[in-house]
Structure formats: C-alpha cells, structure tokens
C-alpha cells in the first residue's frame, strides 16, 4: 500500500488519470495535502497505537510525551495501569498532593505545558536506565532521553505510555515529508479510499482553479465518515470510554 494508491484515486477524480499534468494541481500540492490528511486521520481515529517506555528519575514527576505519540490513552508504571485524574481532583482530594511521594498510582495532563504528563505521587526511586542501542530504542529530541518502543517492561519500574501513533519512518522517527513511492504503514488497506477523500477535500477547497465547494463538501463528508467508522471500531469493541479508547 503506497502513497501512489491514494494519488491514483485523486487523479481520476480530477479527470487527470495519467497523473497531475495540467498544472492546476501539482504532485507537490497532492503530497502537501497528504502530509496533512494522513497524520490527522491517524490522530483522530487512533487506529495505530504505540507503546513507549521511558525511565523514571528520582524526585521527578513530570515527563515529556515524545512526538511519536499524538494522544496519550493510558500510562503504566511497572506494567500497572495509572488512574487518569486532573488537577482539580488532586487539589480538592489530597492535601499537599505535590509533596506526596511513593510509587505512582495516577497521572494527569491538565495544567501542564503541551504534551506533558505528571505522575502522582512523585516517584522517589530511580527506574532502570533505558538501553542506548538495540531494536526499538529511540532518542526523541523533545524528551532528551532514550526511550524504547514495543513493550511494557514491568521489572524496570519505569513509566510506559500507550497512545495514538503518528506516521513514522522505519527508524521510528516522526515522518514529516512524503513521496509517491512511500509506503503507508499503520492503517489497513480499507482506509485508503477515505484518505483519498481527505486529500480531495483539501484540493477542492483550496484557493485555486480546482476550487469546487460541492465536491469539497462531498469529499469532506466521506472523509469524516471514514474517521467516524474507524474511531468507532477502535472505541466500540470493548472500551467503556470512547474518548480514551484503546
């Protein structure tokens, strides 16, 4: 499944079956739109989950979420699920909660800089250091620490994030640019028609000669239908909370 599979569908809808040659919409325009639509689809549907473990440090309760995760669904420490909470509950429920120490049992995301989590109570132990090389080891610049992808590693007493994955390169770095020959990973083949509608919605609503409100709205409707069905598949199978469905 390649980016060119989406491109072919878009070209036939633009009446350019041999490829975008008229100049009204170019291949670069297509790839830019695809680069917007594909991460949006993955983030909103949550079809692909990634499991990333990072080291816990003595006395540090706030940790940066790596860019490989767009939305945190759950946090585990030593493989144990942490309760999701918020600052209001902590403020009202626990006197001087920031001073409490121990093995973390809850986490919150609000009241913090973007894409950070804070563990509660504050850990007062040093988890196992993440290996600096090996399969699945990454070094996200935003966390400035080695992390490892793929399992929960319970004996390490570190924290594990489970969340919606963004498009990744084979070396697990975040993919930001696309070519027609790139493969589309992380989503099933059945999602390709919906990606083509998403790109079509962008092209038909762009301020160019290709602008067409009716086509754009239809494509947008079909793209939203795709987001809704995949989101529902992920949410409705077993989860009691669709907003944080795993």
């Amino acid at each position: 499944m390649l980016v060119s599979d989406v491109y072919r569908r878009v070209c036939t809808r633009l009446l350019e079956p041999a490829g975008l040659q008229s100049g009204i919409t170019t291949v670069d325009d297509f790839l830019l739109s695809f680069g917007d639509v594909f991460p949006d689809f993955m983030e909103r549907t949550g079809v692909a989950k990634i499991i990333i473990t990072g080291a816990i440090h003595f006395g540090i309760s706030a940790y940066q979420v790596p860019d490989q995760i767009s939305h945190v669904d759950a946090v585990f420490v030593s493989g144990r699920l942490l309760r999701r909470t918020n600052m209001q509950d902590l403020d009202n429920g626990t006197y001087q909660w920031r001073k409490r120490t121990g093995i973390p049992s809850a986490f919150h995301e609000d009241g913090l800089p973007v894409k950070q989590i804070e563990l509660y109570p504050q850990p007062v132990y040093e988890g196992q250091a993440i290996p600096t090389e090996g399969p699945g080891v990454i070094f996200p610049p935003e966390t400035d620490e080695y992390m490892i992808v793929g399992d929960f590693y319970p004996p390490w007493r570190d924290y594990t994030l489970v969340g919606s994955q963004v498009p990744l390169n084979p070396d697990l770095t975040v993919k930001t640019s696309w070519l027609l020959t790139d493969s589309i990973d992380g989503i099933p083949r059945s999602a390709v028609p919906y990606l083509a509608f998403g790109v079509g919605a962008e092209i038909f609503s762009d301020d160019s000669e290709a602008k067409d409100a009716a086509r754009a709205k239809y494509c947008e409707t079909r793209y939203e239908e795709g987001v809704a069905v995949f989101r529902q598949i992920v949410a409705e199978r077993f989860s009691s909370d669709p907003d944080n469905a795993m």
Binding site: L81, K217, Y218, R237, F238, A245
Partner: protein, 239 residues
C-alpha cells in the same frame, strides 16, 4: 450466500451512468466498486476470516539479550484488519479492553500461564491490529485462532462474485453511483449525491455494526436538498 457477480453490478452501475463508457472507463468503475465493498465491509463487518497464530517467547529485556520470556503483545497478520474473537487451544477467550484488563488484574503484564496453573483466558485489543493475551502463555507454540474482519479480495473479472450478502449489492451501486459523477460536477453530481449517497447512509445506518457511530452531517444547505419533515409542513406560508 453471495451470488451476484461483478459483471451484474457493473451493468447496473452503468445504467445509472447512461452507459457512458468514455467518461467512466471500466477500470475506474471496477476500482470504485472495490472501494465501496471495502467501505461496506468496514461498516457491517460482513467479511470475516480465521487465521491461526502460535503463542511465542520473545526477548522482553533488551538489557539482558539472552533472556526470553512469554510473549505479551501480538500483531494480527494479513488479511485481518482487526480481531473480533479468539480461541486458545480450542477454547474461546474472553475479550475486554486493555484498561479493564489492567484494572482487573494488577499484575496482568507479568502473569504467566503454566501447566497446572491459571489458563490463558482473556484477550484485549491495543489499537486495531495489536492485542495482548492474559495470562501470557508460558509454554509457547500453542494454537491461537484469531477471527477478525478481513480485507475483501479485489474483484477483477466479470464472473467474480461480490463477497457481500446480496442485499448489500444495491448499497454498492448507490455508493459507486454517488462517487463517479464527481468528475461531471454541477447539477448531475449534486443530484446523484442527494439521491444515492443519502440512500447509502440510510441503508447503512440500519445495518452498520457500530451502533453508536456518529455519521457526519450532510450538506443539505449547499445543494438545496432537504428531506421533507412534517414540521416544515406546519410552517405557515409567509405570503
């Protein structure tokens, strides 16, 4: 049992497109039919298959490379899109969400099934194509039969059978008939969408496997089409 062929679907679709093979070449129509089958399959979960996998042992501690442990996380294999049920050694496993599993069993990530001990009894999906079993199988090499919704086989020849129930064939025709006129645009496209996409959504709302799915709002205002409602009939005429 499916008995409608691709050729029959194409004939019906072309009759809605004034048999215009110049604007709608056969391959384009076949591609849209295949896309429509994928979409309807996602909505209804009609096409399912079983795949046999085996439990395994993996290295779960990169800091100690020779150390192997029972495998916790599995990935479904092609052509399954997502699993709906599974059997371990012929026994049905109980499905639950990962948060339910982790809440119910504090040590779920290290629990191991050994001979004479607790048997493998639960599974939980992680996203679409990953899942965990609980407890992990301590022996490895045991049969895990995964049933799931799978990717439909692409139709190529006129004699190929549509892999959906016969009463879904008209839904395929509705969907294809609403997409293809996009290349004509204007009134023809608007009319096709108003009639056929609406028909598709009405049929799918009653058949979709996902009862709580939120269908996108459609664009009545843009194309000037609006379903008749009794409430409108009660609005007095301004004149």
């Amino acid at each position: 049992m499916p008995s409608v062929t691709l050729g029959q679907v194409l004939t019906e679709v072309y009759s809605r497109l004034d048999n215009n093979t110049a604007l709608y070449p056969r391959q384009d129509v076949v591609d849209e039919v295949n896309d429509a089958i994928q979409v309807i399959n996602l909505l209804t979960g009609a096409i399912q298959t079983r795949v046999q996998m085996f439990t395994g042992v993996v290295n779960r501690d990169p800091s100690n490379p020779p150390l192997t442990a029972p495998q916790l996380i599995y990935q479904v294999t092609d052509p399954i899109i997502f699993p709906v049920s599974m059997q371990y050694e012929g026994r049905e496993l109980s499905g639950m969400s990962l948060d339910e599993l982790a809440s119910q069993y504090r040590s779920w990530a290290i629990d191991v099934s050994l001979p004479g001990g607790r048997p493998v009894k639960d599974w939980a999906p992680i996203g679409l194509d990953k899942f965990v079993i609980h407890p992990m199988d301590g022996r490895g090499g045991r049969s895990l039969i995964v049933t799931g919704v799978c990717e439909p086989t692409e139709l190529v020849n006129d004699a190929d059978l549509v892999p959906l129930p016969n009463d879904d064939v008209s839904t395929i025709e509705d969907l294809v008939g609403s997409v293809l006129p996009m290349r004509e645009g204007g009134h023809i496209f608007a009319a096709a969408v108003a009639e056929l996409y609406t028909s598709f959504t009405v049929k799918m709302k009653s058949k979709a496997a996902w009862a709580n799915m939120k269908w996108p709002q459609y664009y009545e205002k843009l194309i000037g089409w609006k379903p008749y409602t009794p409430r409108e009939a009660k609005i007095p005429n301004a004149s």
